[in-house]
Amino acid sequence: MRALFPRSLFPALMGLLAALAGAASEMRFPPPEFETDYTMPGITTPPPRSLAMEYVDTALLVTALGLAAWLVHRRRSRRGLVALSVFSLVYFGFIRTGCICPIGAPQNVALGMFDPGYTIPLTALAFFLVPLVFSLFWGRTFCAAVCPHGALQDLVLIKPVKVPLWIEQGLGIVPFIFLGLGIWLAATGTAFIICRYDAFIPLFRMNGSVFGLALGGIFLAAALFIGRPFCRFLCPYGALLRLGSIVSRKAVRITPDYCTQCRLCEHSCPFGAIREPVKLPVTPNALAPERRRLTWLILALPVLIAGGAWLGSKLSVAAAKMHPTVALAEQFLAGDKAPAPATALPTPETRALGRAAETAPELIAAASEVRRRLGIGGWWFGGWVGLVIGARLISLSLRPNRTDFEPDRGACYACGRCYLACPNERVRVGLITPAEAAALQAHAPVPRPDVKTS
């Protein structure tokens, strides 16, 4: 046993130490005056990654986003996007090893907003905002070929299976909830859970906890068969980009010319983003039940939000346990009644409790302040969850106005896979002749009579 002293002496020594620390900092053993010509080595301070590199990263991010936008909308080249994805995966993934990436950046922004002790570094702000601004103009160009997480999943996809639409729509709200949770916990300084459950950073570092690496492995294995599982069902930044993309200036088009509704592209999207044309009913009256449902849902929205907020406020006590200060304060207050056995060796817990005992009043005050802030945040978070569920229900009962086969603006990652599935596009880029296209379309699945338009 290498205990330096019996456990029973621990509190006494702590007190002694505290006294020593108070009585100025005298050395117990004065540093020697050397007689020989001894030169004292200095402490080395290897610098962190330089600020210049952070700016290089930002510049590369902007360039890559611009290039992706060009490849998606102008050049319309899947091959170019693959090449850019490989670059992004290597540079932003394996070389830069992630942090701070746009996916986690909402947390830095939230912390910066609410914690006066933390200012958002310029580069973190840029990584947060630039892809979002791009999404407002050109859709999810970040997801297309710049995000290393997306690129990794996209490049390993070998045999996509179709996820039923109802699962897609149901699980599709998880990223929004995760985003809300991440911001709530980050703004209160509790935890950066988006980083904690990031699936791919441990893989990029090729180093990490067993949990992190296992999570990465699971997502990677799933990504072989399910197109981009992390993007679709977890990524909180993707949720923001989805919103940006819905209102974007330019939307991804399967063919920029004209859609003859041959349905040849229908299954070309591995992420289930292609939607079929929707026909308006023959008589406007047929819309009445839908309108009624929509009205009910809109009326129910405030109720959902209020209910969510109330539930959220109940969550805050549990969430507070994630905050180290609150956890320690609780443990300390509970331990007051049952003191630890005096013989045990010090463990991280007993040492933390020792600190708690020394600073009990401040600790408890700090913990209750965290609790209070988490409590306020809990209302907002719950309300957000209610809003997300309500908005999804409403969007499901909105009748889209679509005459062609088109990617869903929010769900499309702008990967460019569908482009060449369209015979008209192939004619446009000169791969086949119009006659060949017509032949292809003749063998295409028979269009449903109700979507056949003039």
Partner: protein
């Protein structure tokens, strides 16, 4: 109206709505940049560092880092080291002999080098490639010596996680974000 063709007025309404929302989003982003740049001036990024006055040598530094082995290492503040013959950071309590025998050393990986300088002084160096950041020597040195051994996040190793995974389990609450231009605590006085 019984024609199934798209309804142009509804298309343009949606288009209008979309443009309005985009404009709102852009304004929001702009306001946001204005707000945060007014509030910060943070040209720098942050890195994680250990405040040695708060470290309670819990040992989590060796186990909780996302890197294996940890990016936290012990450093030696030579200026405040006593160059003691009986170094309480180097030797276990009541060592058999004051020599470099492994059974006498506190360090589980023999990462501390003991070098004779002149009678009765010895220099102690951390061999960083061996150190796992377990803080055993730090405890010995800080409790009973001058506290010249202390733990620091080594930035040539640390990948600067957005949330340091040691910070959230640190028993002393010793981790904090420090400006990257000043990334180390340089200990110049004991404790």
């Amino acid at each position: 109206m019984s024609h199934p063709a798209p309804n142009p007025s509804s298309v343009s309404r949606r288009q209008f709505l979309r443009e309005g929302m985009r404009l709102a989003a852009m304004t929001g982003a702009g306001a946001f940049v204005g707000l945060s740049s007014g509030r910060t001036g943070a040209r720098e990024h942050y890195v994680w560092q250990i405040d040695p006055t708060k470290c309670v040598y819990c040992g989590n530094c060796a186990t909780a880092c996302v890197l294996k082995p940890s990016a936290v290492k012990c450093v030696q503040a030579y200026e405040i080291c006593g160059y003691c013959d009986l170094c309480t950071g180097y030797f276990v309590p009541e060592p058999n002999a004051l020599n470099t025998g492994a059974e006498n050393q506190v360090c589980p990986t023999a990462a501390i080098e003991r070098k004779f300088i002149e009678d009765p002084y010895y220099e102690y160096n951390i061999i960083e490639s061996r150190c796992i950041g377990c803080a055993k020597c730090v405890e010995g040195c800080t409790r009973f010596g001058n506290g010249s051994f202390y733990l620091q996040v080594r930035h040539d190793r640390c990948v600067n996680c957005n949330e340091c995974s040691i910070a959230r389990v640190c028993a002393g609450d010793a981790f904090r974000r420090v400006p990257a231009s000043n990334p180390y605590f340089l200990k110049t006085s004991a404790h």
